[in-house]
Symmetry: C2
Subunit: 129 residues, 2 copies
DNA sequence: AACGAACTTGACAATCATTTTCATTAAGCA
DNA sequence: TGCTTAATGAAAATGATTGTCAAGTTCGTT
């Protein structure tokens, strides 16, 4: 009857394995390029669709870079944020349970639901200071 | 000799007055449209440039919507964050001394200086839930 | 093992926000 | 008033993302 299946295809496993290997935030275009160079070519459109599907399924993290481009990465066990050097790009992952709790309570206070948040810290790293 | 002036023009005051009147987050395109309808037409390119200039001068708040489009609004006096409804765009300003302190200490821990941060919370407001 | 409905794919065209180009216009100082 | 230079804006360019649709696959069913 109604099997609303998500099928497993070569393309899908290619994308997830690329994400696993890269283990870092990458844009759709970069992942597409990576797969092409590796000889495991997947259509650009398909990479877009797959990443979006994985993202809304909660299987990958998606963040919006400052220039508006979306970048994806295999979901890491814990939700965290980034401390980015404005000059050299060095990125440090930081966690903030305090912040998470704060965001949740503020949202609840105002009656918001289905909340998500973005938090990035920019500055100059020790080397670039 | 070297007069590195920022000149005051009709277009610039049109953009700032539009921002003041609207008093809400709007996209560049929306502001451009608003000015055109009001008969105080300003080129789209100029609106883009003006908003970016105002933003980097710290005179307006700029945030990146989840779809990647930039939206701007007149700066309010104190540093604060936004709780934005994904559906209707309703924006609530929220303050978070906790978050500020957390961001500062995390940065210090990693030796970062000149730090700034962005934090936006997206969700569904009570009406849109 | 073959069938077939529904899901997937991918080349290409279409969108759409934003940027670049560059010739024209206008601020503001001397 | 004149002149230097910033500012403007129309049009073209860019670049990421989405839509289209015919052809290819998957997988439960026969």
């Amino acid at each position: 009857m109604s099997s609303v299946g998500i099928r497993s295809t070569r393309q899908r496993s290619a994308v997830t394995s690329a994400l696993t290997e890269l283990n870092d935030f990458r844009s759709t275009q970069e992942i597409h390029e990576y797969l092409k160079e590796r000889g495991d070519s997947v259509g650009l459109t398909t990479v877009y669709r797959t990443l979006q599907a994985l993202s809304s399924a909660g299987e990958v993290d998606a963040i919006l870079r400052e220039d508006g481009e979306s970048i994806y990465r295999m979901c890491s066990p814990a939700h965290h944020h980034h401390l980015v050097c404005r000059s050299c790009g060095l990125t440090v992952e930081v966690e903030g349970p305090t912040v998470e709790k704060w965001a949740d309570s503020v949202s609840a206070e105002h009656g918001f639901s289905s909340v998500s948040h973005t938090l990035e810290i920019f500055g100059l790293c020790p080397t670039c200071s």
